[in-house]
């Protein structure tokens, strides 16, 4: 278990640094900004205790909030997605919801994609909701959510596929 956490936190740290230094500066059509660091929350093992995962979700977001001067949106979205992940995995992965690797090839490709997309979409929705913090801007929140979610989804699936192939 310790080697898993060492590897996990190393990858998480690299992804967070990449997010801050590289991906936060990418603004597709001056509108969309990818959240590549969500790989941390998507790939965390499903069979581990959720208690620790909620803390990881929060502190991952907090790390970004503090370094990007964001008003707590990453922390709140991170902790929420970590809390709701069992529901999302049950819905998207079906019978395989409790296996260790959410992206195992034993699960149907469509189910895996649905899981990844829902994790990104819900995270981005909460994130935009906190950023705007005003329901009168609901339409802009939805537009931002969809744009960011699609852009992040493309980049995240590409990254996951790339590293999975290498493995």
């Amino acid at each position: 278990m310790i080697p898993y956490y060492t590897r996990f936190f190393s990858i998480a740290f690299v992804l967070l640094i990449l997010q801050i230094l590289v991906f936060d500066h990418i603004h597709l059509f001056n509108f969309s900004n990818p959240a590549i660091y969500l790989i941390i929350l998507i790939t965390y093992r499903l069979d581990l205790d959720q208690f620790g995962f909620i803390a990881i979700g929060f502190f991952t977001g907090l790390f970004l909030d503090l370094l990007t001067q964001s008003p707590g949106a990453h922390s709140l979205a991170g902790v929420s997605i970590a809390f709701f992940r069992p529901v999302i995995s049950r819905f998207a992965l079906g019978a395989n919801f409790n296996q260790s690797n959410a992206l195992s090839t034993s699960t149907l490709w469509s189910n895996r994609m649905l899981y990844v997309f829902l994790m990104i979409l819900i995270h981005q929705f909460i994130f935009s909701l906190i950023i705007y913090f005003n329901m009168t801007h609901l339409w802009i929140i939805v537009k931002h959510t969809l744009a960011n979610a699609f852009f992040s989804f493309v980049l995240i699936t590409a990254t996951l596929t790339l590293f999975q192939t290498k493995n």
């Binding site: 208690f51 909620i54 964001s70 707590g72 902790v79 809390f83 913090f133």
Partner: protein, 271 residues
């Protein structure tokens, strides 16, 4: 204690989520003034929503204390009104009021009220220990109630104005014409005014006040209005029905009126 621990372990994920989510909101408020004001506004709305029912419940339980406080305040106001009566009286006589205010008031609560008999008596929760003495006047929020009949240490009985043999000196507010007010024992909201000669003009709706001819009540305390009247054939006096301002069937708090000069007046009359 065990069940608290069990519940805590069972819902630890949810509790951690709530804790961290709140922490996130606090950070949100610290990081951005806009978020801070929005969160403050939201928490104010939630706080108001939660506290309102409790506040209403609390104020319900505080009603007794609040009533007492209002009675005290009313008593102070009544005393001021009585003081004004005294001043007006002194001014009209062109004399100086050396002895100070002649009338004063003491608040009391009615603990028994009968109004269905022909001779009704009220019981109040103040007695000789509270400086209540026989034959003091008793008034309510809207006018006269009766006269103290007997006192014990902590209680006093009051002859209600709905007492067949009691006659109250009353006058028309507009014309200062005096008469005697009495109850026929029928309707608790209605009394009769006698001894008003037919040379005086009477109209429905005329206001009646205490006459000040007795030492029970100061002059000018409200009684009621003329409901109807008629002039009997071959009679020199009106039959006047008076509708009382006070609802005698729904009384709770009253004020006992004391007259500082009463003893002197009685002594003088007895000589």
């Amino acid at each position: 204690m065990q069940w608290v621990l069990n519940a805590f372990i069972r819902y630890k994920n949810f509790l951690l989520f709530l804790f961290l989510f709140n922490l996130g909101l606090i950070i949100s408020g610290k990081q951005s003034d806009y978020h801070n004001s929005k969160i403050a506004k939201f928490s104010l709305a939630i706080s108001g929503f939660i506290h309102q029912p409790f506040e209403q419940l609390n104020s319900y339980f505080n009603l007794i204390d609040e009533n007492k406080r209002l009675i005290e305040e009313n008593n102070t106001l009544k005393s001021l009104v009585l003081e004004q009566f005294n001043k007006a009286e002194v001014l009209s006589l062109g004399e100086q009021n050396i002895a100070g205010p002649q009338y004063y008031s003491l608040p009391a609560k009615i603990i028994r009220n009968s109004f269905t008999q022909s001779r009704n008596i009220l019981l109040i929760d103040k007695g000789s220990n509270d400086n209540i003495t026989k034959e003091m006047g008793v008034i309510g929020p809207k006018g006269i109630i009766g006269i103290v009949n007997q006192t014990s240490e902590n209680y006093a009985s009051v002859l209600s104005i709905l007492y067949r043999d009691l006659k109250i000196n009353a006058k028309f507010k507009k014309s200062n014409v005096f008469g005697s007010l009495f109850w026929e024992g029928d309707n608790p909201n209605e009394m009769q005014l006698a001894d008003i000669a037919n040379i005086n003009s009477v109209e429905v709706g005329d206001t009646l006040v205490t006459g000040g001819m007795s030492s029970y009540f100061p002059e000018g305390i409200l009684i009621g209005t003329v409901k109807s009247f008629n002039l009997p054939e071959n009679g020199g006096y009106y039959n006047i029905s008076v509708r009382l301002f006070n609802n005698m069937t729904d009384l709770e708090y009253v004020y006992v009126i004391g007259n500082k000069n009463r003893k002197e007046i009685i002594e003088l009359l007895e000589r």
